[in-house]
C-alpha cells in the first residue's frame, strides 16, 4: 500500500511538473523565431482550403435594414493625428484624391466626385473584428474592380496595397496600410466605400474612403484611404508582411 501511495504521490508530482513544463514550454516557444512560423503554416492551409471552398463568386451574407447596428462601432484610429488629413477633413475632403499607381498601365487620380460618378454598389454586411465582435452596416462605394479596370494592372501585379492617412505610431512612415490579392480585389463585394448607412462616411469609420473586403476580418478593411498601389510582392514594404497588423504577427489571410 505504501509503495502504491508513494507511486501515486510521484505520479501527481509528475503531472504537476509536466503541466508547468508544458505551459512554460508553450510560452518559450511563442517567443522563439523558429516556432511561430510552424504555427503560421495553418494560415496557408486555411487559405488554401477556404479558397477551394469559396470559389471567387461566393458572396458574404447580405442583411436587411432591420439588422443594421444602431451605431457602427469605430475601432483602431478614430481620428487620424495627421496635419494634412485634418486640414482636408475640415474642407470636407474637397481637395482629397485617391492615387492609383504601381504596376498599372494608367495611373489615376480620383477625387471623391470622380468616385461617386463611377458605378456603385450598396451592401448591408456584417463586419467581424478579429477581437470577436460584429457590427452590421450599409456600405455604398465603387467596386474595386471598376477602379482596376480603368487603371489596367500589369500582368505581374499580384497584390493591391492600400495606403492610409492614419499614423499608427510616433515617427515617420507608420501610417496604416493593408493589402489583398487579386482574387479579393476582383470580388463583386470588394468596394471602396464612401457612404455608411446612407450618409458620407464619418471620420471615426474612415472618411472619406475605406475598403470593404467582406469575406475577411475587419483589420483588412483599411480606413482613411489615400493611395492604392499594385505590387508584385511585399518585400520592399515595411515589415514585408503586407499590412500594419501583419507586421505585428497577425495573419495576412484573415478569412478566419
Amino acid at each position: 500500500m505504501s509503495t502504491s501511495g508513494g507511486r501515486r504521490r510521484f505520479l501527481w508530482r509528475g503531472v504537476a511538473v509536466f503541466g508547468s513544463v508544458f505551459v512554460a514550454g508553450c510560452e518559450r516557444l511563442s517567443r522563439t523565431t523558429w516556432f511561430p512560423p510552424i504555427l503560421a503554416s495553418a494560415e496557408t492551409l486555411n487559405m488554401r482550403v477556404q479558397r477551394l471552398l469559396t470559389s471567387r463568386p461566393s458572396m458574404a451574407r447580405e442583411y436587411t435594414e432591420a439588422d443594421l447596428s444602431p451605431h457602427f462601432r469605430s475601432n483602431g484610429t478614430a481620428m487620424p493625428e495627421d496635419f494634412g488629413y485634418l486640414s482636408q477633413s475640415q474642407k470636407g475632403f474637397a481637395g482629397w484624391a485617391l492615387h492609383v499607381g504601381g504596376l498599372v498601365e494608367s495611373p489615376l487620380r480620383l477625387s471623391l466626385a470622380d468616385l461617386r460618378a463611377m458605378p456603385s454598389r450598396t451592401q448591408i454586411t456584417r463586419h467581424d473584428c478579429v477581437e470577436g465582435w460584429s457590427a452590421i452596416g450599409k456600405w455604398t462605394g465603387v467596386p474595386l474592380r471598376e477602379v482596376l479596370a480603368r487603371a489596367r494592372p500589369r500582368a505581374n501585379a499580384r497584390y493591391v496595397v492600400f495606403r492610409c492617412a492614419d499614423p499608427m505610431e510616433d515617427g515617420d512612415d507608420t501610417n496604416y496600410y493593408e493589402s489583398i490579392d487579386m482574387d479579393d480585389a476582383y470580388h463583386p463585394q470588394t468596394i471602396l466605400a464612401y457612404d455608411l448607412n446612407g450618409s458620407p462616411l464619418p471620420v471615426p469609420n474612415g472618411a472619406p474612403l475605406r475598403l470593404r473586403v467582406e469575406r475577411q476580418l475587419g483589420y483588412k478593411m483599411a480606413k482613411y484611404l489615400m493611395a492604392i498601389e499594385l505590387v508584385e510582392s511585399f518585400d520592399s514594404i515595411r515589415g514585408g508582411k503586407g499590412g500594419y497588423w501583419e507586421d505585428k504577427g497577425y495573419e495576412w489571410y484573415a478569412g478566419i
Binding site: 508553450c26 503560421a40 477556404q50 469559396t54 458572396m59 467581424d128 465582435w133 476580418l217
Partner: protein
C-alpha cells in the same frame, strides 16, 4: 488478450487500450489544452458574449466577464496574434486527430464493440448512476470495459460536442460563412455562434474535469498506465 504478470503473483495484467487509441488520446489532450488556453486568450480580446447576428443590435451582451487570468491563457499576457496562431494551428490538429479517431473507431469496430451502449447497458443506466454517485466502480474484469455512463459520455462528446464545437468555430470565419451565405443564422447568427462555441468549449472542460475525477477515484496509477502502455492490472486475480 491477457499478458503474463511479471511482478505481483496475484495480479493479472490485461491490454486495455490499443496503441492507436493511446496515441490519439494524448494528441487530443495536448490539442484540447492548447485550444482551451489560447481560446481564452482570444476571448479576452473582447470578453463579452452576445446572442444574434451582431454585437451591436441595441440589446447589450448576454454575458460580460472580466478577462481570464494570465495563468490560464496562452500566451500568458495579452497577445491576441499569438493566441490565434496557437488556436488556428491546433484546431487542425484536433480536427485531423478527431477524424482519424472516428474513422479508426468505425473500421476497427472500437465504436460498436466498446463505445456504443448495448441493450443491457441501457437497462443498467439507473444502477450505474447510483454506483457513480456512491463512487462504487466496477472491479475485476468489468473494469476492462467502459460502463454505460462512460460510453454515453464518450459518444456524446466525440460525436456530438466536438463536431458542434468545430462547426461553431468554423461559423466564426467570415470566409466559411460565405460558402452557404446565411448558414450561421440557422444557429441565431454569428454572435450566437460565438457564444455556442464558448459554451461547447466549457462543456469539454466540464467533461475533462469529471473524466479526471473518475480517473483519480478508479485508480490513478493503473488508469494512467493503461493509457500509456496499454496495460491494466486487476489485483487479486491469477493470470490466466
Amino acid at each position: 488478450m491477457a499478458l503474463p504478470a511479471n511482478d505481483a503473483p496475484h495480479t493479472a495484467v490485461y491490454k486495455r487500450h490499443s496503441l492507436a487509441v493511446r496515441v490519439m488520446h494524448w494528441i487530443n489532450v495536448i490539442a484540447v489544452v492548447v485550444l482551451v488556453m489560447s481560446g481564452l486568450q482570444i476571448f479576452n480580446a473582447h470578453p463579452a458574449l452576445y446572442w444574434g447576428k451582431s454585437s451591436y443590435t441595441g440589446a447589450g451582451p448576454i454575458l460580460a466577464l472580466d478577462p481570464f487570468p494570465g495563468w490560464i491563457t496562452l500566451p500568458d499576457t495579452q497577445w491576441l496574434a499569438m493566441g490565434r496562431r496557437w488556436h488556428l494551428f491546433f484546431a487542425w490538429v484536433l480536427v485531423l486527430n478527431g477524424a482519424a479517431y472516428v474513422l479508426y473507431s468505425i473500421v476497427s469496430r472500437h465504436l460498436s464493440r466498446d463505445l456504443w451502449p448495448s441493450r443491457e447497458d441501457v437497462r443498467s443506466i439507473g444502477s450505474s448512476i447510483a454506483d457513480h454517485l456512491r463512487l462504487r466502480h466496477p472491479t475485476g474484469k468489468a473494469a476492462l470495459r467502459y460502463n454505460v455512463l462512460q460510453k454515453l459520455a464518450y459518444v456524446v462528446i466525440v460525436f456530438g460536442v466536438f463536431p458542434f464545437l468545430v462547426l461553431m468555430g468554423l461559423g466564426l470565419s467570415p470566409s466559411v460563412d460565405s460558402i452557404v451565405p446565411g448558414w450561421v443564422d440557422v444557429f441565431g447568427g454569428r454572435q450566437s455562434v460565438r457564444t455556442l462555441h464558448f459554451i461547447a468549449g466549457a462543456i469539454i472542460v466540464a467533461f475533462a474535469a469529471v473524466h479526471l475525477f473518475e480517473v483519480v477515484v478508479t485508480g490513478l496509477v493503473n488508469n494512467i498506465r493503461s493509457m500509456i502502455t496499454g496495460r491494466y492490472r486487476i489485483p487479486g486475480e491469477k493470470s490466466p
